[in-house]
Amino acid sequence: MALTGALVALALVLAAAGGLYGVAYLLRLGGTRAGARPFLSGHDAAEHAVSRFHVRWYAITMIFLAFDMEMVFMYPWAVVVAEQGAKAVTEMFVFLGILLVGVVYAGREGALRWT
């Protein structure tokens, strides 16, 4: 039931986007400008911009992964916490507390800053 709705809505959005592209095709003043240089303050690019990018917040992605995995468990936990009682709350928040200690440690080490 819900899945049908999702599929209908998705199809409709795709159709609407397609419709926009169709209308634009009819109304446009010219064909797609191929070979338009990327904006670089009025200069030509010496290199392709797509390159191995120096992601200086790399450390944050690692901490994020740890927390995000935990979040996945927290969704089902949220459904049963009321019936499971204090034990479930204690377990979850002790675990979260441990993760948080890790975050605070990483923060003190400067892992959350990158300039």
Partner: protein
């Protein structure tokens, strides 16, 4: 109705998105153009792809002219351009360009596909970075055509990720400006007003780069009011309000504190000392202080000296900073290269 008619009909109603390029000698034209754009309800574009009107303020020759042509090729149809040499002609030039923009017949003439020759880009090479890693690097020039960037300034950078590993400063087209300096010399009206307006102008650019559009637009409105001769009493209240807000905003303090900090041993001109936040607050205070002597023949700050120091300091000041910080740093120093050129012409 024919689809072609519909296109023509829509073309008459589309919003104008101007991209304003200022070349040395074009400050007066830029100020007039910016005011007209604002009062007509147009909004400036951030890049050529967004723009449909290219406005060149000032006499573009030599390298800046090449850059302007380059950017013109990047504008998609519909597009029009206006060259404003004299502030007095700005209104007419913009109106003519708008008429061209809305003329379906002229817009339909096919724009050439990739007429541009130029060298094909290569794959990025690698080099040592500031943290001792070997990473891809891009050679990226900042300026001369870049919204919110000082006229006539080019910083050639080596970029790894978004960190500037190297920065070299170049000032092409300065000689062609012929020593015209709007703020310092040829601008109309008493120096007291020009002084206040320049503080507001610099603050507006810095605020827009810092992403505070509301305060930036307010500063430009005040600047335009000062230059169009509003009485000091009329400007006073909104100016104090604006200055108070800029000085007190905790978010601005948060995002500008420590940015582009100049160490005291670099002997900066006193107006440029400290960080971007200190410079912004100084501009706000100086604009307020200028209120009392609006229509007097006050001495102007030595903007040539400030520009000279900035041009020399930028390479080491920008090295190792990231793109966002570099933009804020340059905007907060806002070198008036026209004044620098005028001093050289006068000295020669």
């Amino acid at each position: 109705m024919d689809v072609t008619d519909l296109t023509a009909l829509l073309l008459r109603r589309i919003p104008v998105r101007p991209l304003v390029v200022t070349v040395p000698g074009g400050t007066g034209a830029r100020l007039r153009v910016e005011r007209l754009i604002r009062t007509r309800g147009w909004y400036p574009a951030a890049s050529p792809a967004e723009a449909n009107l290219l406005v060149v303020a000032g006499p573009a020759t030599g390298e800046p002219a090449d850059a302007v042509e380059h950017v013109w090729e990047q504008l998609p149809a519909p597009r029009a351009r206006a060259a404003v040499l004299d502030p007095g002609h700005a209104d007419g030039e913009l109106a003519a360009a708008e008429a061209t923009l809305r003329d379906a017949f002229r817009q339909r003439r096919p724009a050439p596909d990739s007429v541009h020759g130029g060298a094909e880009p290569e794959m990025a090479g690698r080099g040592e970075d500031r943290d001792g890693l070997t990473l891809d690097q891009l050679h990226v020039p900042l300026g001369p055509v870049l919204p919110g960037w000082p006229a006539g300034l080019v910083v050639r950078t080596v970029l790894q990720g978004d960190v500037l590993q190297e920065a070299e400063v170049d000032t092409p087209g300065l000689a062609e400006a012929g020593g015209r300096t709007w703020w310092w010399g040829e601008g109309p009206g008493p120096p007291g007003r020009r002084r206040a307006a320049r503080h507001l102008d610099t603050a507006a650019t810095l605020l827009s780069i810092a992403g505070d559009d509301r305060a930036a637009v307010a500063a430009r409105r005040l600047r335009d009011g000062v230059l169009t001769g509003l009485a000091a009493a009329e400007v006073a209240r909104p100016l104090h309000q604006w200055a108070r807000r800029v000085r007190r905003s905790p978010l601005l303090r948060w995002s500008l504190a420590g940015v582009g900090a100049v160490p005291a041993d670099a002997a900066p001109p006193p107006e440029l000392a400290g960080d971007a936040l200190a410079r912004l607050r100084r501009h706000a205070t100086a604009a307020e202080a200028a209120l009392d002597r609006f229509d007097q023949d006050v001495p102007l700050p030595d903007w040539a000296e400030q520009a000279q120091w900035t041009v020399e300091a930028l390479p080491w000041l920008l090295r190792g900073s990231e793109l966002a910080l570099a933009r804020l740093t340059v905007a907060s120093l806002d070198p008036d290269l026209e004044a620098l050129a005028a001093r050289e012409v006068a000295g020669a």
